[in-house]
């Protein structure tokens, strides 16, 4: 669906409101980059590697997955594969966003980096193009700035505190994954898929190399997606899910 280019009467006021809300989301999301930075160096990555992940990978769930798999003793290849699988949802967000934002080729190559949960949530609900663009750009840039600054702080602090297990940072990783999963658990089918994935993963832990159980659990998503008949549009997080609510 392409949006109209016409501006509504109250645009300056609406624009101010969208910018304010988007920056609030950026600040709220950006700050938890601190936890990514701390967890990443605890998993054995250097401060430089940690900061590069936030700059170039720039998608929270994939970043946490990469360092989580490594922390659990998985191979770098298994970590990268898990991160890429989680990155596929941004492809689907991009499909939804492209006609809304209506940007040309070269602009797309730069704004693509900003396609994440938060920027998608703050733009797909708008009813005209200028609002969708400003919501997407302001949120994307605010999250990018906050997330990268906070990652550096978390990594530098994490680097100086010694054995992460003493501070329970290994437990923080599981909590981070649960917090990322939480908004999706309202749906019944998602709950069943989650339970199936947990069963597959835990069942495989004693018999496979670390990193394999998580990738194998992705098979549950494949199976459920192929067998399910329900027609539904791509699930996009609501502004509530990315705001201060979590």
């Amino acid at each position: 669906m392409a949006l109209s280019d016409a501006l509504p009467q109250a645009w300056p006021e609406e624009r101010r409101r969208i910018v304010r809300d988007s920056i609030a989301v950026g600040v709220a999301t950006g700050t938890y980059g601190v936890s990514f930075g701390a967890v990443s160096v605890a998993a054995g990555l250097s401060v430089l590697q940690t900061c590069l992940l936030s700059l170039v990978m720039f998608t929270g769930a994939s970043q946490f997955a990469l360092v989580g798999v490594l922390a659990a003793g998985g191979t770098p290849a298994a970590g990268a594969a898990t991160a890429l699988l989680l990155g596929t949802r941004n492809t689907l967000y991009g499909l939804r966003l492209a006609p809304l934002l209506g940007w040309t080729r070269w602009r797309k190559a730069t704004v693509a980096q900003l396609v994440i949960d938060e920027s998608t949530a703050m733009s797909v609900t708008r009813d005209h193009r200028a609002a969708a663009r400003i919501g997407f750009l302001t949120t994307g840039v605010a999250v990018f700035a906050g997330w990268n600054a906070a990652t550096a702080v978390g990594a530098l602090v994490g680097n100086t505190i010694g054995d992460p297990r003493t501070y329970g940072l290994d437990a923080a990783v599981g909590a981070a994954f649960l917090a990322l999963l939480w908004p999706r658990l309202r749906d019944r089918r998602n709950q069943l898929v989650a339970v199936g994935a947990v069963a597959v993963a835990l069942g495989l832990v004693p018999v496979t190399a670390a990193g394999v159980p998580v990738l194998a659990a992705g098979g549950v998503a494949l199976l459920a997606g192929v067998l399910s008949r329900r027609q539904d549009p791509t699930e996009v997080p609501s502004p509530d899910d990315v705001g201060g609510g979590r």
Binding site: Q49, L84, T91, R165, G168, A171, G174, Q231
Partner: protein
């Protein structure tokens, strides 16, 4: 693959996945099964990551202070606590348990 390999391949790959989404004509990927699988992948992987992160260690299942951290996270999420409270609260709970019981 080395650690650096994972950082570089994972990062560039994630960018290309984003670029593909805003670049390819929507009919290429616009299929109900692809859409459903793509929606379910984060659910399955994140759930598996929670389980493995909390209950796995050295090729076997373990129940330790991490489980208490997860229990804290569940309660905090039920009360709609902010992300940082959920994550660092879980760490504090697990850290304190280890302090008390070695």
């Amino acid at each position: 693959m080395t650690l650096w390999g994972a950082v570089i391949v994972g990062s560039l790959g994630c960018y290309l996945l984003k670029l593909a989404g805003v670049s390819v004509p929507s009919r290429v990927l616009d299929h109900p099964v692809i859409e459903r699988v793509a929606d379910l992948i984060p659910v399955a992987l994140l759930a598996a990551l929670v389980a493995v992160q909390v209950f796995a260690g050295q090729g076997r299942l373990e129940l330790d202070a991490r489980a208490a951290g997860l229990a804290f996270a569940v309660v905090a999420l039920l009360f709609r606590a902010p992300f940082l409270v959920v994550v660092f609260g879980a760490a504090v709970v697990a850290g304190l348990l280890r302090l008390w019981w070695g």
